[in-house]
């Protein structure tokens, strides 16, 4: 019976832990998770000419800045800023229908599926991260 080299455990266990952690963390920073199949939303494009984006759905990773308005039975308008600033900075308004059912706090981050409905960004689905 061959004896397992202790060195194998000494090196193998840490490597395994690192691999597992990387498997968990990298997808989060790399924009993984839900809506990975959607194109990322560009704040700059939206600001420049929202009309060209009408009807499209995008993945929008954002952080809540402030709730601007709340309409009973309809939803709320949030001011959010993109977590990925490579496609534009600055705040944009986001309409979250009541059906989304989430509780929103300032500073929370979400991965959203947004659709450009005329000039308004409407959240169709979202995931907190």
């Amino acid at each position: 019976m061959s004896k397992v080299n202790p060195l194998f455990f000494a090196l193998g266990i840490p490597v395994l832990v690192i691999v597992v952690l990387m498997a968990i963390v990298i997808p989060r920073f790399a924009g993984g998770g839900k809506f990975t199949d959607l194109s990322p939303f560009s704040v700059d494009d939206y600001r420049k000419d929202w009309a060209t984006l009408q009807g499209n759905a995008y993945r929008f990773d954002c952080q809540i800045e402030k709730q601007l308005a709340y309409e009973e039975g309809k939803g709320r308008v949030l001011a959010v800023k993109p977590t990925d600033i490579s496609r534009g900075t600055g705040r944009v308004p986001l309409f979250v229908p009541l059906a989304a059912g989430e509780t929103f706090e300032v500073g929370q981050r979400f991965k959203c599926k947004v659709r450009v409905v005329r000039d308004l960004l409407v959240v169709e689905d979202l995931e907190r991260f």
């Binding site: 759905a57 939803g75 308004l120």
Partner: protein, 643 residues
């Protein structure tokens, strides 16, 4: 010492009174002429006698206060000129020393320790001769000649007196002879009468023969008459001698007091010395003004004498010496104004004293410059030229650091404020249509400060008001119709004056003034914000007021000044407004939020964001449902649907 001082004060008061009573209004103070020293109005000075105020010179009235007593120095203009001439003149040189030495020698020769029974005439003659030596000096002003003349006159009077005495003696001898004749004649008559009574009678009892009963009576009568005439002539000579003696005394004493009043103290002392040797001991009392002099001395049994006058003169000389020492000390300490004042007083107290006459010319020159500045300052004050007073006060302060300019400036500022207040009141009254009140206020302002520029400006406005009235009303109407608010505002004062009686137009004018005033305040606010490196807030203010005052040129200029600083901000706001007009509330909201990112404190951005967010929230579902339906769950292609 106090007695001495009191006696001095009394005599000074008397002297001033006498001088003030001089019959000739233009009489000069020099030359020993003097005034009416026998004035009996000395009582009037009684209440002022011991009111010892500080020494001062009143240039306006031409008088000087010395130890509480007033010296009338004559015409104030002449007084000023004399003092100015003194300041400008060079100091007296070596001759002055010689002159003083001569005067002192005269006094010594006539001194009581020198003159005795043996040398009384020789001393008089020696002193008399020295008077002519002293008179050769220019500074003497020939006053020693006056004394010499007076002495010579006394000598002549004395000779006349001697002649009168001889005549009187001769008459007395004649009278005695005549008396003897009268007695002789009377005895002879008595003898004749006795022999007649003892002669034998006739047989029939009658007298023998015809004889004169009063033989020699007629002759006796004539002899008695002659004797009486001689007696009367003797009495007349006596009276004439008495009068001559009194005249000599009075004239000499008058001259002496005259010198005292003319502040020729040394001449007064020399006159006194001569008097002492010329007149007997029984005639040493003061006759001229004795009553008044006595009244001023607080001693009930006081007898005014020559020594009283001597004391006054010596006290004045000492005071002058002390005064000049004070002047020099103040000068050395840099207190030129104080030195100037003391010099002025000392000069008028003893301008002929050597200490005054020999004062250094350089120092006097500095005081002359100060004196001229002070006179100019006084002239400005008299003319109420308040605007220039401050400059001159500072100029005088530059020369004399002890000059009390703060009080003057305080009064000037008060007067300026009062005048300006009166002008303001006049303007308000004029605007209210109260012409009488406006005129009164304007008169008050002019009285306080005749050259007040506000008065002139207001007067011009009032004068041209009537002319402009006919032009102003149509001009105002035209400007209002053309909404030229700024131009109306710029001419508000003219319009206010012209439209004071027109209530409707005045109300309109007030409205315009308030409107442009508010606009200006906002423009000012924007300018301040921009200057404080806060251009975005400044732009907010500009944008806000531009909504109502878009045609104002000042606003446009301010806007153009600030615009380059906030180009991005302005572009975002413009874009937001445009999007909102086109119905893109969400896009407009995005633009407003971008603008707010640039200017977080902006109230207008905050309001717009709040308003648009509410609108978006209300219309979002409808918009989503009607305009762009949510695609099916499987549609995840980021391409527009094409609808």
């Amino acid at each position: 010492m106090s007695k001495l001082l009191c006696s001095f004060l009394g005599c000074v008061a008397f002297a001033s009174l006498a001088f003030a009573q001089a019959p000739q209004p233009g009489a000069t103070v020099s030359g020993g002429g003097g005034g009416d020293y026998r004035s009996s109005t000395g009582e009037a000075m009684g209440d002022r006698l011991f009111d010892v105020n500080s020494d001062s010179v009143d240039m306006e009235n031409g008088s000087m206060q010395w130890k509480g007593k007033t010296f009338n120095l004559g015409n104030s203009r002449a007084m000023r000129m004399r003092f100015e001439r003194y300041l400008a003149s060079p100091a007296a040189g070596g001759d002055m020393t010689k002159y003083i030495a001569t005067l002192t020698q005269i006094e010594k020769i006539l001194g009581p320790n020198v003159v005795n029974q043996n040398n009384v005439y020789a001393s008089q003659q020696a002193a008399f001769d020295l008077l002519f030596v002293a008179a050769e000096h220019e500074v003497d002003g020939n006053n020693c000649l006056t004394i010499a003349t007076q002495v010579k006159k006394i000598w002549s009077m004395r000779a006349e007196f001697r002649d009168l005495n001889i005549n009187k003696n001769q008459l007395e001898a004649l009278r005695k002879t005549q008396e003897g004749v009268v007695v002789n004649r009377a005895e002879r008559m008595e003898e004749a009468n006795d022999s007649k009574a003892n002669s034998p009678t006739t047989a029939n009892g009658g007298k023998t023969g015809l004889t004169k009963t009063s033989q020699g009576q007629t002759e006796l009568g004539y002899r008695v008459k002659d004797e009486q005439r001689t007696q009367a002539e003797i009495l007349a000579k006596n009276a004439e001698m008495l009068a001559l003696g009194l005249k000599a005394q009075v004239e000499f004493q008058s001259q002496m007091v005259g010198f005292l009043l003319a502040r020729r103290y040394r001449h007064c002392l020399i006159s006194s010395a001569f008097y002492r040797v010329l007149f007997k001991g029984g005639n040493q009392n003061i006759r001229v003004g004795a009553k008044e002099v006595k009244e001023f001395f607080p001693v009930s049994d006081f007898v005014p004498t020559l020594e009283s006058v001597d004391t006054l003169a010596r006290e004045a000389m000492n005071d002058v010496t002390t005064g000049m020492r004070t002047v020099d000390d103040l000068y050395k300490q840099g207190e030129l104004y104080g030195a100037f004042e003391r010099l002025q007083e000392t000069y008028f107290l003893g301008e002929f004293e050597p200490a005054v006459m020999m004062y250094d010319q350089g120092k006097k020159r500095e005081m002359l410059d100060l004196w001229r500045d002070l006179r100019e300052l006084q002239r400005l004050g008299d003319e109420r030229d308040l605007a220039n007073v401050e400059g001159y006060v500072n100029k005088v302060r530059g020369r004399a650091r002890d000059f009390p300019g703060a009080a003057i400036l305080s009064r000037v500022n008060n007067a300026i404020n009062a005048s300006n207040m009166a002008v303001l009141s006049a303007k308000q009254a004029a605007l209210g249509g109260d012409t009488a009140k406006a005129e009164a206020a304007l008169e008050r302002a002019t009285k306080i400060w005749p050259q007040n520029p506000s008065v002139k400006e207001f007067a011009n406005q009032v004068v041209s008001r009537q002319d402009k009235l006919s032009q102003m009303v149509p001009e105002f109407d035209r400007m209002i119709a053309e909404a030229r608010w700024r131009e109306v505002f710029n001419k508000k004062l003219e319009f206010a004056l012209a439209l004071a009686q027109d209530k409707a137009r005045s109300d309109k004018l007030r409205e315009v003034i308030n409107r442009v005033g508010e606009l200006d305040a906002n423009i000012q606010k924007a300018s301040v914000l921009a200057s404080q490196n806060n251009p975005y807030l400044a732009w907010d203010v500009i944008v806000e007021i531009s909504k109502t005052e878009s045609d104002d040129l000042v606003l446009a200029k301010t806007r153009s000044d600030i615009a380059p600083l906030v180009a991005d901000y302005a572009r975002l706001i413009g874009q937001a407004e445009k999007l909102e007009r086109e119905g893109g509330e969400a896009a407009a909201l995005t633009a407003w939020m971008a603008a707010q990112d640039l200017n977080p404190a902006s109230p207008s951005c905050g309001a717009a964001v709040k308003r648009l967010a509410a609108m978006v929230a209300k219309s979002a579902v409808a918009k989503a449902a009607t305009t762009t339906p949510i695609p099916a769950a499987g549609d995840e292609v980021p391409v527009p649907t094409g609808k």
